[in-house]
Symmetry: C2
Subunit: 250 residues, 2 copies
């Protein structure tokens, strides 16, 4: 089994090392990850300038771009004609739950893998209490084995969020939908040493009241959350109303 | 009516000027856009360094960040307690159709406006034959008037794609879903003047056979495409299968 591993915290983050180590039990693991932290890179792609690849060790590469760039360079340059059997992105330092999923470089790297025909999953560690990536890495390996044996449903990427609890029961997982969860945004303004204004995007986690059927609620209740995602953002429920607009005079 | 306008082609792109001019017939237009091209920025957010705002003219600002950054700084700093009645992002130089939507800074800026409670739409000019932003700007103003009068369905952002045809009939529009459309990716490798390798992400448009019920197909058939989007990426069709996994031994 050939497994491509990437993330958005950068190639030297502890989460990606824990993930790669756990997956090595299943086959050859090739790590291709950003050379530095690229959190909140979403699905961004570098088109306006060239990218560099650095070979750090056997089967470990960094790219000076986004997670989605890494997937491109892994597939088209580093692995060329070898097709990975699986892509796993993570383990992210911090949950990717609710709307935060849309900003996540970790999750979009998995969706990019899926676009390229590779079964893909993203794995994140929720909350930073213990920074213990062990349970998340073991659960990722368990899911990887499952995917190898069973495959994924059509057009589906897995978004896995694991509570940061060293004693997390790996059988305590829930299949969920994307819930509602955002940071309460704010922007902090300040003045730099030369007297010019600057602004820093900040935010504060707002406790959520989502039910256990959502990613947010399941994790709050101590479950590992497994959400099937796809990239079809059509709001189907609105199609009929919009189709009436023409008659009504738009 | 207070209208916030942004884009991903940068504040000096012709598309954003055409859009702002057309929308000024409806009220006050405030432009807050990236200081340079930020195509394919997706929903990326700058968290690791501060941002600067430059006031270029009355109600026209640039930000040294992504389209989503622009929406944040517009709402929290530039407009502060003034709440825009509408956000329009564009007019993008190039279509945002099918999976390309997921990479688009233009579309995600509109989704970010929606996250902040502002009715939002993205407008793109498909193909670069004439670079005539007139029809798209007029259609955007027509939709803006409609939204002002009628509002949008709940949890819905509009993704509008207008064929680049100076004679485009503005009544010839279709309500569509996101279709399948991607560039056939490739990566071009080369050697820089110092003898080091670099890689450039490239791609080639693949003609699509999507039906007229999709954004891709509608535009190919000469229609303006209007797609309702949301940010819930749950693959609902896969939930039941995944719920069976536990019993089956995952």
């Amino acid at each position: 089994m050939l497994i491509l591993v990437t993330n958005d915290d950068g190639v030297s983050a502890p989460g990606i090392n824990a993930l790669a180590e756990a997956l090595r039990e299943l086959g050859r693991v090739v790590v291709v990850a950003p050379d530095r932290e690229k959190s909140a890179a979403s699905h961004s792609l570098t088109l306006n300038h060239p990218l560099r690849i650095a070979e750090l060790a056997k089967d470990m590469y960094s790219v000076d771009g986004t997670p989605t760039d890494c997937v491109h360079l892994a597939m088209h340059v580093i692995l060329k004609d070898q097709r990975p059997d699986l892509l796993v992105s993570g383990i992210n330092n911090g949950g990717n739950l609710g709307q935060d999923v849309t900003y996540s470089g970790t999750v979009w790297a998995a969706l990019e893998g899926h676009f390229m025909g590779v079964p893909s999953a993203a794995v994140s560690l929720v909350d930073d209490r213990y920074f213990d990536y062990g349970p998340a890495a073991r659960f990722a390996a368990r899911v990887a084995r499952w995917i190898q044996r069973r495959g994924l449903p059509p057009d589906t990427v897995l978004n896995i969020n694991v509570p940061d609890d060293p004693d997390q029961d790996l059988d305590r997982f829930a299949i969920t939908r994307m819930g509602y969860h955002r940071f309460e945004e704010s922007v902090v303004g300040n003045t730099d040493p030369r007297g010019k204004s600057y602004y820093w995007i900040a935010g504060r986690k707002v406790p959520s009241r989502e039910g256990i059927e959502t990613d947010v609620g399941a994790v709050q209740a101590g479950f590992i959350s497994v959400t099937p995602l796809h990239a079809d953002m059509t709001r189907y429920a609105a199609l009929e109303e919009l189709k009436g607009w023409k008659e009504e005079g738009l």
